[in-house]
Structures are given as structure tokens and as C-alpha cells.
Amino acid sequence: MAEIPDLEKFLTYAEKLGAEHVTIRFNNTKYELISVVNGVVSEYTYTDMSGIGVSVLVGKSPGFSSTNSLDDNSIKKAVEEAVNAAKAVKGKSYEIELADVKAAKDKVVGPYKVCPFDIDEKEKIEILMNTNKAARELDGIKSTTTRLGLELDRRVIVSNDGINVEVTTRLVGLSHISVAGEAGSMERVWDSRSQSAGFEFIRSQNWNEMAMEVSKMALELVKASAPKAGKYTVVLHPDVVGLLIHEAFGHASEGDTVYANASVLANRIGEDIAAREVSVVDEGVIEGGYFFPYDDEGVPKGKTYIVKDGKLTGYLTSRAVAKALNMSPTGNARAQDFRNQVLVRQTNYYIEPGDMSFEELLEDVDYGIYITGKGAGGGEVNPAAGTFTFGVGYSRLIRDGELAEPVRGVTLTGMILDVLKNVDGLGKSLEIRTSVFGGCGKGGQRVRVGDGGPYVRVRNMIVGGR
């Protein structure tokens, strides 16, 4: 099998063609997805994608090209196309400059014990078949889908200002969906668990128990009604807090959005934009999250405070955005793969915990909703308008401080800053989650992220229902 080509020699070639700055990224992603639907293996696919992306600045104009052909001539052609693209927009583009960084030279492998691609197909299928079967043992379950996802992502980043970084990350997980039906009504609930780890994570979990729990929730929900639309006090499970903070706030804190004047957070550094007890962090390596020690420009991703004690303290940046905003690079330049130019993206985004127990958060709620996130569909935000929405799945009413009957069809909607100002209670424990099945979408690119927080109580949240 061929090796990764020597990328550094193409840096010199780009310089000869007139590029002042050049970054070349090699990326290889192996992905395996197995699906079992109602006891039948409906899909088992293995994908192996590799190629290079070339980013250049020519006279401060940007150009990018990518190819999956890795012979010298193809890479040279990609370099030429990137340079030509930059020349083609000269005079119409920004004069882009990059913030200086200490040139990292590093090779990092994310935590794992057993490589998921060394496991026999039969073991993987057996785990899925057993899980899928366990979920179908309850009367009223009409359909069950169980999926196993395994990923190995390897990135090499070199630049003509001395960066040479290689990161290899493994990510594994299992998801399950149960559909319940009763009296002409149907409902689905799903759950999943993923970790930046090897196959040992898959072997360590009780998947049958998770699938049974999902089926039980689906059977409860199919009999439930939607809550009346309106404003409620809500207590959010950490899974939903992750969705909320990622979608409702995180996107607005991405520096390219701020620079484009498309964020409600633009020009607000130093302002009180959340309740005093709220602190928001983006961190590259944290338990439960996606392993991300360096970004796709080879900049280390450490711990970045976006909000500290309710005050806006910073934005997420790439090298170009950091220079434009006169800030430091935070290690948030990310590309889905070699075919894409970097954008500013979140990594593991979360609210720091407080000091209340779950019971204390419920205690003061006369009538509200507890939102678990099981079956949550994700969310979307308009960072310029400040609006967000997400579907949150299985939920339960709160009456007089106690959990009551389940409700379905719950969606949360609101204005970003109103919600953070209405936070009035934070739980003690921090839970971060990632997923091998999905990720965050922006500009047509999807990247793996983690998100989470503690249990959080929010007053006056708009809930869409019946």
C-alpha cells in the first residue's frame, strides 16, 4: 500500500508559483456503519476516503483546491488550481492575513485500546442483533433500528511557516430507535452513546438495557399528548443543555460569524449577556467529548472561555479571523475533510456546572416541563436574528416540584440572549457527549463535536406544542 506523499515539497512548489502562505492538509477517514432493522442487517458499509486540500494566499487573496489523487502530478495540479483561484479573485477579495502562532510539530493519537477496525464483523453484528432483539420484546413496539458506527480519522497539516502536526482520532458508538404504535398513533424515541475510544467502549456498555429503556419511553410517549403551547419554566437534562448551548449560543460565538456582522454577539465583549452564574467554555480535549487537540491549521485547541460569570469574554477564531478581530487564535479552524476549506467551528462546547441537585432544581417549579433529550432531533439557529429552535423528544411535566406525566412533540424556541439571562439554576455534575452518527453542520460541512453541561433550569422558555 502506498504511503502518504511528502507534502512539504509541495509547499515549496506553491511558493514558486507565487503563494506567500500555503497550508496542505492530508486527511484519511475510515468509517464503518452497520444497521439492523427489525432483526435484519439492512446495511453494512465501509468507507475509506483520502485526499489533500491546499490553501494558499497569493497577494493576500485566498485560493483553495483539493484532489483525492495523490500522485505528484495531481498534487501539483491542485496547488496550481489553488494559486490560480487566488489570482482570479485578486482585487475582489479581502486582503487576508494570518495571526502568528508558534509553529507546532507534534504527532498525537487519541485514546483507544482496541482498534475498531481490527474487530471481526461477526462480533459487531452479534452486538447489534442482540440489542435490536431486546428492544422488540415489549408489546406495542412496531419497528426497531440499531446502528453501530466506527470511525478512524487521520489528519496531517503542514504549512510553509513551519507547522507539521498529525492527529489520529477514533470514535465509536451505537444508536437505537424504537417506534411504538397504538390506536392509529405512532411515536419514535432514540438514544445513542459514542466515545472517542476504541472498540473497548462498545464492549463495556449494556446496550440491551439502553434499547429496552428506549422502547419503554416510546410506549409511554405514544399514549401521551403534546403540552399546550406557551411559556414554561423548564428543567433541561445535560443532553439538551448541550444542544441549547451549542445551537443557541455557540454558533453566534464563532468569530467568522461575528466578523461578518452576522452575530448578535458582535461588538459585545465585556457585556453581561447571561445570568451571573453562567460560564461557557469550548475545550478540545475533555472526558466524554470529541478528541480534538489541534485544529485543521495545526493550532493547539485548549480551553477557551466564551462567557465567564455571565460576561462575554471572547469568540472562537481561526488564524485569519483572529487577525481580523485582533484576537488570538483559539484553535477552532475546522474542515469536514480534505475537500473543504476551514471554517470557524466549535469543538466541545459546554456550560460549567453549578451547585444544585436535580431535586433542588425541580423543587421551585409549580408547573413546568422536564426535558430529557431522548429522541431529540437536533436544532438550528439564526445567529444574526438571534432565534433558535430544536426538537427535544421525550419530556415530562413538572407539577408542584415533582415529575408528572410524559408529554410529546415538544419543541423549544427562543431568542438566544433571553434564554441565557433566564437561567436561574445549575446542577452540580458535568456531562459531555459526542456522536459518531452526526455532528454540527455549517456552510455545507459537518464536523464531529461534543457538547453538554449540568442540569439547567430556565424560566419563560417558549415551548411549541398543541
Partner: protein, 444 residues
Amino acid sequence: MVDIESLVKRAEDLGASDVRITVIKSKRKSVSSVGEKIYQSNVVTSYNIGIFVSVGKRIGGTSATVNELVNVEDLLLKAIKIAKNSPEDKDWPGIARGLSKVSISGVHDKKTAETTIEGLADAVMRSCELVTSYDKRLKPISTGIAVVESETKIVNSYDESVSSAETSVMFSASVKSKDGIKEGSYGENRIFRRIDDIRLKDLMENISRRALDALDARQIGTGSYDLVFEGLLFSRVLEVMLGPAISAYNVQMNRSPLKDMLESEIAADHISFVERPHEAQYPGAREFDSEGIATKTFHVVEKGVLRSFIYDYYTASKEGRESTGNAWGGLGQRTTPGPNNIVLMPGDATEDEIIEETKRGVLICTSIGYWLSNYISGQLNGTISHGYLIENGEIKHAVKGVAFSDNFYEVLKSKLDLIGKKLIPSSRMASPMVRIRGSTIAGL
């Protein structure tokens, strides 16, 4: 370059019962701006292969970029190994046979394929100028144009093959308005077949006008309203709600509420949905599906009666019928049925007439989160990111930040009462403007 025909023969030598090999070559050129200047100019060349095999009634698939790191015979061996280790699917009919296509004039546009980075850069700059010249309170946030040319070839073990070349154009623009302390924004994403289909002046003027209207956007009170969906948004709603519900796979897997509803009334008698995949101007038009089966024109719903689900080869074989040419799937993956270009057949109302006949309602232009709606339960919901309050047939002011909800199947049966004349396509469905009576808005 991969010799696909030889690889097909090799699959049989290595123990595959049959095989489908797909190769896709594509070139994507794009330019995007932030504010009034270009921020990215990209050229992306791809060459990918997918191998899907069966060994008896066991299946497996692999896909990869074609390059020096990938040995396609190893890829083939991996697919066969996966298949051999998978349990049997007793219903597996083998790889799809009968590959053919319906030639569609115009799915490939030479001018679009030959558009240069310079040409795209000029169009992006022109878009920005159209915004700033429309009103001094407006500034472009971002604009992006991408053109894609792709060639697809599918070969199977039965000496059959099909190939096709297509073009598509993606356009996006968003604009911010500011007047004193008031701020607003509006943006759109569209897909076209040809670069000349973008009517830049009309498009940017509409976006600019709405960004100005957004200065006065506000929430409205919780309650019951008639919802008037613009065609583009409703076609996207249909992709989320109707598309999976009419998929024969979801029906057979007991996760569609339309199971057992064939030849039953699932909608009011003025509602018809027709699969129309042979009209090149629609982004969903295609000559053959992901299995290489020719696409077809047919009624899905005729005057409210569910006439047909949509099928790929597997789901069709299970019911002893022919595929409808609706297979969708990634390279090397098993397919499932999905819409190509399903159209909600137009009615006779103009868009102005629909608004004039609405006493208390909201015209919804864009929504975030509508894709979170649930076709299994029928729960239709989303947040209005740009809309207008309608009172006594007149537009009053812009609306944002409120949630709408209803049950999609009830909407089809009894609440969707007006359908406009003009079809607007999304990527795989098309719809005119529609009105839905008495839906819920959650707001103030």
C-alpha cells in the same frame, strides 16, 4: 482510472453472486464572500468508487476515493468479506437488474460546467452591489455560488451499464439591515440546474426587500392562525414529512403511518402529488436512480387518494412489483426509496389571492428547525425566522421568533385549503404557495 468492467468480472471470481459498481467524478467550483468582499475561492476535484455485492442473500458494501492509497481489489475483497459474515436477508432479490435511463435534455449544461472562478467572482460581487444599491441601510452578510459538474456510471454483473452527466448550481445570500438601533436580516439558499437560471437581480431585490422588512419583525401572541407557506419552504416541509412517509421501505418496516392506506383517502380531493423526474429545470430531475433504474412519472396521490408508494428494487421485489426508479443511496451502500422530484400539483389561486382571502394568519417565508418535524407521529413544527402577519387580507408587519405546530396528516386531510399556481422546487420536491387553516403559533 479504474477498469470497472474487469472489476465486475473479478468480483464473480472472488465469490460474489453479483455486484454493482458505481463511479462518480465531479468538479466543484465555488466563490463566497463575507460582507462585500470575497473570502473563499475553491476548486474541488473528486473521483469516488462504490462497490456493492451480494453473496447469496447476504450483502456488503464499500466505497473509497480512487487514489494511490486504495487498492480497489482490496476494497472488493472487503465488501465480499462483509457479505459473507452478515446474516442472510431472506427477502434479498439480488443486485438490481434492468439498468436503463430516460434521456433528459438539459440535465447537463455546458455553460454551467465551463463557468470559471472569475465568472463566479463577478456574480458574487454583482450580488453585493445589488444589495448596497437597493438601500443604504443594507449590507451583505455573505454570498456564495457553487457550480458542480458530475458524471456517474453504474455497471452490474448482468452486463448492464448506465451513465449520465449533470450540472447543478447552489446559490446562497444573506443580508443585514440596520436603522438606528433596529436590526434585521434575511437570507435564502437555492439550487438551480443552470447558471443562467439564477435571476440575480430579482433574487437579490427580493432578499433586500425582506431584510428591510425584518427591521420591524416582532413576535406575535400565542394562538390559532392560518399559516400561508411560500412554495419553497413548503416543498422542503414535504421532503421531511411526505418523502419518508411514502417510502416503501418505511412502510414495510412498520414506521410509516401510511401503511395499509393504499387506495385510501389520505388528503382532501383537491390535493395530488405526482413524481415528475424528467423536467430538467427541477433540481431533482434525473435519468436513472442510484441503482441505475430508469426514473418514471407517476401519481403518488391522486385527488386525495394514495395511489402508490415509492420503491427501489428491493422493496419492489418484496411486493412482486417493479421499482419506481426512486432508489437513493451513497456509494457502495444499500439504497432506500426517496423522492426524485415529487410535485404538489398547482391549484388556481394567485399568491395575492391567497393572502387576500386570509383573515388572521401568518405568511411564512423561512423557518429554522422545520426539519425537526416527525413524519412518524405527524408532528409538524418549526420556528419562523421570517414571516408576515396577515390581518383581513393584508400584510401588516414582519414576524420572527415564534413557533408553528400542527399535525401533517390532519393538514393534508382537512386543513390545507388553498394551493397556488406557481411551483417552486427545493432539491427533491416542488410546491406552490399553500394555506393551512387554524394552526397553532407559540409566541408571546
